[in-house]
């Protein structure tokens, strides 16, 4: 079972009734799998903050609830998260966050344990699929017993590895009646001060009680000269590397089970802390005055660890390195054949427009051959940045903000309201491909379906933009490249705020013609077709060539060819 599938299974077994999440690699499959259980109401929220608030409301309503996100999602949700950490819960509530050490599919490597600590929330860290299931179940018991939110921290390797998992049955739980209690649930200053005290008390209790929990595992090896403290996936690497030494495998990383750690430290000669990312555990242990022989002085803060790296650090033998293949050319990802975004970026690249970009499949347009993106910061940032850029330079000329439909609804809309309110004359382009593409095609409020695939009201983006005070909103098919070029020129020249919505569904969600195109002898080798960055077009014998097995027949290349040299094999067949 995939780690993420195991989380969903554990939530189901624990009797969870409400899940509200926003997609983000590597967390997405938890919610997708939860949606398969009839007993759970599962929804895609427009962003992580709303997701946590829905889960909090469900907790108040007396049921067990869950909200999942990727690490950066917790930044968006942190406002609700930090204060829900004060109020505590009614039904058990878990926030599951998946970090991405090594930046496999993220813009940074931030370490969610710090959010847990600074919010004052217990943090559990599973190491494999079985633990994903077991820990989330335990998290609900902790949540209800101590009246606290619980954070589960996963990461790419835990969420996206499969292992064998023993299944259990679901335990249905009575709804815990909601009782009005404004001293607990209304976090205004007078209450908050008291809630903060209560929070500190429960964290102290957890720090003490957790010394007895069996998710913390003391393994005194034959060798007690070396003692290693590790948690999550790092434990697996360290155990593979040094099977005979002594281990303290932590299942809870906030608050730290101090007594247990001190005991362990006293039984080994040299204490090491092996943790990817920041020295979260190490610094706390050092602050207690316990000598740590090796931590971040031996291991990096960046990227992922491996058993090999740990063996090397401890002077053990490692398999000999084979040949060096680092001269292999990179293979950056590309927009799919038939991707609707290609039409727009072909035009923006041609017009040399300054593009304040955003996060989604379309971020790939920053790479050659289009290179049509100047900035990408975080979800929704394109609009605010385009506005700031305009205010700084005093000009909006040939500058646009570009973002996807899901991203616009996530956090772009507030930026647009700001532009409207603060007198921007800029142009925003929304790529409406009817889906949340990058994270593997989840529904969103503009797509017309909900997380369970049932029909749902689709927000009309045009009306929404108009309601924000934008007078000029144009919709266009991005494959109509000539018209699109004209519109981009017009709108970026206009002395008023405008929005262009490019409408064409993601090539992965609608059936493509699947009749490949061919390049005929009218080709003059101008290579215009290479500028769209299609994975189906290569150079063979010095000329563009369409690889039939990869071409989906979308016809965009035929539209940009100035010599009309590309045609469908269906048509070519007819001609003969």
């Amino acid at each position: 079972m995939l780690g993420n599938e195991a989380f969903a299974r554990g939530a189901w077994e624990a009797g969870v009734r409400v899940v509200s999440s926003y997609p983000g690699t590597p967390s997405t499959e938890v919610t997708e799998n939860a949606a398969k259980y009839d007993e759970i109401h599962v929804e895609w929220a427009p962003n992580e903050k709303v997701g946590v608030e829905v889960a909090m409301g469900a907790s108040l309503g007396g049921v067990r609830s869950l909200s999942c996100m990727k690490h950066v999602g917790l930044n968006v949700a942190s406002d609700s998260f930090y204060t829900a950490a004060y109020t505590g819960v009614n039904g058990g509530m878990v926030v599951l966050v998946a970090d991405d050490n090594g930046c496999h599919s993220s813009q940074n490597e931030q370490d969610s344990r710090f959010h847990g600590r600074s919010a004052g929330v217990p943090v559990l860290e599973p190491a494999d699929s079985q633990e994903c299931k077991d820990f989330i179940k335990l998290a609900y018991d902790i949540s209800e017993k101590y009246d606290t939110l619980v954070l589960i921290r996963s990461n790419t390797r835990v969420s996206h590895s499969r292992g064998i998992v023993e299944l259990g049955e679901r335990t249905e739980r009575e709804i815990i009646p909601y009782e009005k209690n404004f001293r607990k649930y209304v976090a205004m200053p007078a209450m908050a001060r008291k809630l903060h005290v209560a929070q500190e008390e429960r964290l102290a209790r957890i720090a003490e009680d957790s010394c007895e929990w069996d998710i913390n595992d003391v393994q005194m090896g034959g060798d007690t000269s070396i003692g290693i403290i590790a948690s999550g996936i790092c434990y697996e690497y360290a155990k593979d590397a040094l099977p005979d030494v002594s281990f303290l495998k932590l299942g809870i990383v906030n608050p730290l089970p101090k007594k247990l750690i001190l005991d362990f430290a006293s039984q080994v000669d040299k204490l090491y802390v092996i943790e990817e990312g920041q020295p979260f555990i190490e610094e706390q242990i050092r602050a207690w005055g316990v000598p740590v022989k090796g931590g971040k002085d031996m291991f990096t803060i960046q990227g992922e660890y491996s058993a090999r790296m740990i063996r090397e650090a401890f002077g053990e033998d490692v398999p000999e390195e084979g040949i060096d293949t680092s001269d292999a050319p990179g293979r950056p990802p590309l927009l799919c054949a038939g991707c609707p975004h290609k039409g727009l970026f072909y035009v923006l690249s041609k017009l040399k427009t300054t593009v304040m970009g955003d996060i989604g499949c379309y971020t790939l347009a920053a790479l050659p051959p289009t290179e049509a993106m100047d900035s990408t910061l975080c979800m929704g940032a394109s609009i605010g940045m385009a506005h700031g850029f305009e205010k700084a330079t005093g000009s909006k000329e040939n500058t646009v903000a570009v973002l996807g439909d899901s991203t616009f609804i996530h956090s772009g809309i507030t930026g647009l309201i700001n532009m409207s309110y603060n007198g921007s004359k800029g142009t925003v382009i929304i790529l409406d491909n009817r889906i949340t593409g990058m994270t593997g095609h989840q529904q969103n409020p503009a797509s017309g379906k909900n997380a369970k695939g049932e029909p749902a009201p689709a927000i009309d983006l045009k009306t929404l933009c108009e309601a924000c005070g934008v007078k000029h909103v144009v919709e266009i098919d991005p494959f109509e490249v000539q018209d699109l070029e004209k519109i981009v020129k017009e709108e970026t020249a206009r002395d008023e705020l405008s929005v262009i919505i490019t409408k064409r569904p993601c090539a992965m969600i609608v059936k493509q013609p699947d009749i490949p195109n061919v390049i005929t002898d009218r080709c003059k080798n101008c290579r215009m077709c290479m500028k769209i960055g299609c994975p189906a077009i290569e150079i063979r014998d010095g000329r563009p060539f369409i690889v039939s097995g990869r071409c989906v027949g979308c016809g965009l290349c035929a539209r940009v060819c100035p010599f009309d040299a590309i045609e469908s094999t269906a048509k070519a067949g007819e001609g003969k």
């Binding site: 496999h104 690497y237 593979d240 398999p319 050319p329 593997g440």
Partner: protein, 190 residues
């Protein structure tokens, strides 16, 4: 017994199904198994790798490291080369000879290493390079490349033919089962 299999290719080539089949086979035959997959951005045509670790004891970390793979299944030649350091000195490489040029090469900003075939030959315990794509197409679908490669590699794996056929039957859409079983047999003969 420990068997480490690395499956490498280009996003969208069906590497994930291959690893899921291996995972289920291991489970079916009473082994412990862990797989590690790539989701997200690189699935859009980037370089992808899936780790499969099978053991009659217990598998710890899910990742295979340099010099630890018994078998590499490569869906593409350049990817076979990229991941070659992961193969044991006497390891077996099964490679589909079809090439998919990466964008930097297409754009003329980088070059594929010269003499790929010779390098692959010299740095593997055993090498089986063949046009699995062609065989898959002959069987009825270019998508069956993964099954053809698995067929070829099956002789190095401790699973019976019945077990393979059963797991194929359980993991592909009913209307493609026969085609995939045929592709598996063709792979074995390749």
């Amino acid at each position: 017994m420990n068997t480490n299999i690395l499956i490498v290719g280009v996003g969208g080539q069906g590497t994930l199904l291959a690893s899921v089949l291996l995972g289920n086979l291991a489970l079916e035959n009473g082994y412990d198994v862990k797989l590690s997959e790539v989701h997200g951005m690189s699935q859009r045509g980037g370089s992808v790798v899936t780790h499969v670790k099978i053991s009659d004891g217990k598998v710890g970390a899910p990742l295979i490291e340099e010099g630890e793979a018994d078998i590499i299944l490569a869906f593409e030649k350049l990817e076979a080369y990229r991941w070659l350091p992961y193969l044991k000195k006497d390891g077996a490489l099964y490679v589909n000879t079809q090439q998919i040029l990466p964008m930097p090469v297409i754009m003329g900003q980088a070059e594929n290493p010269a003499d790929l075939d010779r390098v692959l030959q010299e740095n593997t315990g055993s090498l089986k390079a063949f046009d699995a794509m062609k065989i898959a197409e002959e069987c009825g679908s270019s998508k069956a490349v993964n099954i053809v490669l698995l067929g070829a590699a099956s002789k190095d794996l401790p699973f019976s033919d019945e077990s393979w056929m059963k797991v194929i039957g359980e993991n592909v859409k009913p209307k493609f089962v026969e085609m995939n079983r045929f592709a598996f047999t063709k792979g074995q003969q390749a």
